[in-house]
């Protein structure tokens, strides 16, 4: 092979190797989306963060469901801890995700669930 052909071939390989990283760096600020040596550092950080955030997202969503359920059940007269205790006694097997969606979008269904929970709740339901 001639020298020129070889350098052209190596340039293609170099571009292919770096384009995978540059594709992940789209939308980054400044030279981090254009220059490989800067992009590779930002991309490593982004991938690390996305790995941990996939686990964090599950925790955050659960926390949000619990906040929403607490607000929704308090609207109908039961605080969250009594509500969950009553749900357990009723043997309603709906999880917090579905219950929180019901409290947002199906208010009358949720009101019925809170009534059932307060009926089955072991101690007397507090008058709030």
């Amino acid at each position: 092979m001639s020298r020129k052909a070889m350098s052209q071939g190596m340039a293609i390989v170099r571009r292919m190797r770096k384009s995978r990283v540059k594709a992940l760096a789209s939308g980054f600020r400044g030279m981090a989306k254009t220059s490989f040596s800067i992009a590779i550092r930002r991309v490593h950080r982004a991938l690390k963060k996305s790995y941990t955030s996939r686990r964090l997202k599950k925790r955050d969503m659960r926390q949000l469901w619990i906040t929403r359920l607490g607000a929704g059940s308090l609207q109908h007269g039961l605080p969250f801890n009594f509500f969950m205790s009553g749900i357990y006694e009723c043997r309603i097997q709906l999880d917090k995700k579905i219950l929180s969606q019901l409290s947002m979008h199906e208010p009358f269904t949720f009101q019925g669930i809170v009534k059932m929970a307060s009926k089955h709740f072991r101690y007397a339901a507090k008058q709030w």
Binding site: L64, T67, R68, L69, A71, G72, L74, Q75, S100, S103, M104, F110
Partner: protein, 156 residues
């Protein structure tokens, strides 16, 4: 626009509601706790931390809020003006005489998370009964305490 369609229902659930709270005979700390929850929107099942869908509250009669008698005299508000040796202080009683709404506003300010302190602008405090928001108010809040003063008890 029909009143039963999805759009109007969505507008109704997501709109901010103006509440009126009579601060007369309410314990200051418990009121502040309740107010911070309402301003942030934590009392709604549609709460989302990124959208600010809290409600506005008007509190009247801040002048007659209740706090422990020792707390009025002993608990102190401290601040430093920035100049050396200028740590100033003021008891809660003095602050209340200066501005009757100051103590409650400070309490709610400290209970709100640092990122969301701007929601304090939705809280309107008035020392007496008069307030300019009569046309905004939709419903009344029930305060957390239910007291009667000694001289208001009937002879029993």
């Amino acid at each position: 626009m029909a009143l039963n369609n999805n759009l109007s229902q969505m507008l109704r659930t997501h709109s901010t509601i103006w509440f009126l709270l009579n601060g007369d005979k309410q314990i200051l700390g418990r009121v502040a706790d309740m107010l911070s929850r309402i301003l942030l929107g934590l009392h709604k099942p549609i709460y989302a931390p990124n959208t600010g869908n809290g409600d506005c509250v008007v509190v009247t009669n801040c002048k007659t809020l209740i706090m422990h008698r020792e707390a009025w005299k002993d608990r102190v508000i401290r601040w430093h003006t920035g100049y050396p040796g200028q740590l100033r202080s003021m008891t809660h009683e003095q602050a209340h005489q200066l501005d009757p709404t100051l103590v409650l506003r400070r309490a709610v300010f400290k209970l709100l998370p640092i990122n969301k302190r701007k929601f304090l602008e939705n809280l309107h405090l008035f020392p007496g009964e008069t307030h300019p928001f009569h046309s905004n108010i939709v419903s009344e809040l029930e305060g957390p305490s239910n007291f009667t003063r000694l001289h208001e008890y009937t002879a029993e």
